[in-house]
Amino acid sequence: MSRAAKEYKAIIRVLQEGDEFYSQFIVCMEPKEDLTRWEALVRGPSGTPYEGCEFRLHLLLPQEYPMSPPVVKFEPYAMPHANVDFCTGEICLDILTKQYWSPAWDLLHVVQAIGQLLGDPVPSSPLNVDIANILKANDTNSYYGLVHYYIKS
């Protein structure tokens, strides 16, 4: 677990310095109880229907971390996105699977990647079929409308 401690130090430093690359998406990120459970707030990227909102992420580090990827979920019933299961908050992202994970990545990279996923949904591997279909149909108005309906209510 000492890797998690090293990351904690790095995260505090990076977020305090207001690193441009990371602060674009990451509002805050801190461990809960011990270093195996983390929470992060992701900023909705500008130019997307998520702009102006913040979304809570739950990160769980498995025993084998960093040889296995962290388990990352959005808060349940809070994230309307083509690659997020609305009920569970589960995220479909290749680098979070064992197949594509590399121990060279860390929690900052993961949250950064999820921030980018908000702006670049992949409708071809959906966990939210309704939103994926709207995206496939290029119906921007419905897309914004549906996302806003969920996150602004």
Partner: protein, 160 residues
Amino acid sequence: MKVDVEEVHSVFAWTWHIPKDNKDGSLQADDDDDVCGICRASYNATCPSCKYPGDECSLVVGECNHNFHVHCIYRWLDTTTSKGLCPMCRQLFQLKRGLAINDSQLEKFRELQLKKRTSVAGEFADEDDEEAIARAVAQQNQAEVDDQGDVIMDQGLVVR
């Protein structure tokens, strides 16, 4: 003036000598804050499972010029999901030849490679173990004869 030396305290410092590849300049000068890409601890410190830095917890240099604590990269390559690839660049991870720092680890990594090949061979064929091992050994010998062939063959095995 006469000086009597009563006590001498010798102090020394050490760092790993990381060879620089000056020819193609692909390896940058080593900074003080260079850390292992897997455990994020300094090259000169130990990996998380060791207590004392030094020969017991040494550094290895990959053919791709990425360095790791030997224990960290071994643990990664020992997982099936690693597919034998470097965590940084996703090229096949192999120890750089002809470096003093790698020499003591060559045998260990060869055994790991052999183990992985045996398990891959086992997955594809239901022959008895001995035959699979014999084939893996033959492959290994072939690989040693021809370095170029080694790379190509390994890529064949790790195809996603």
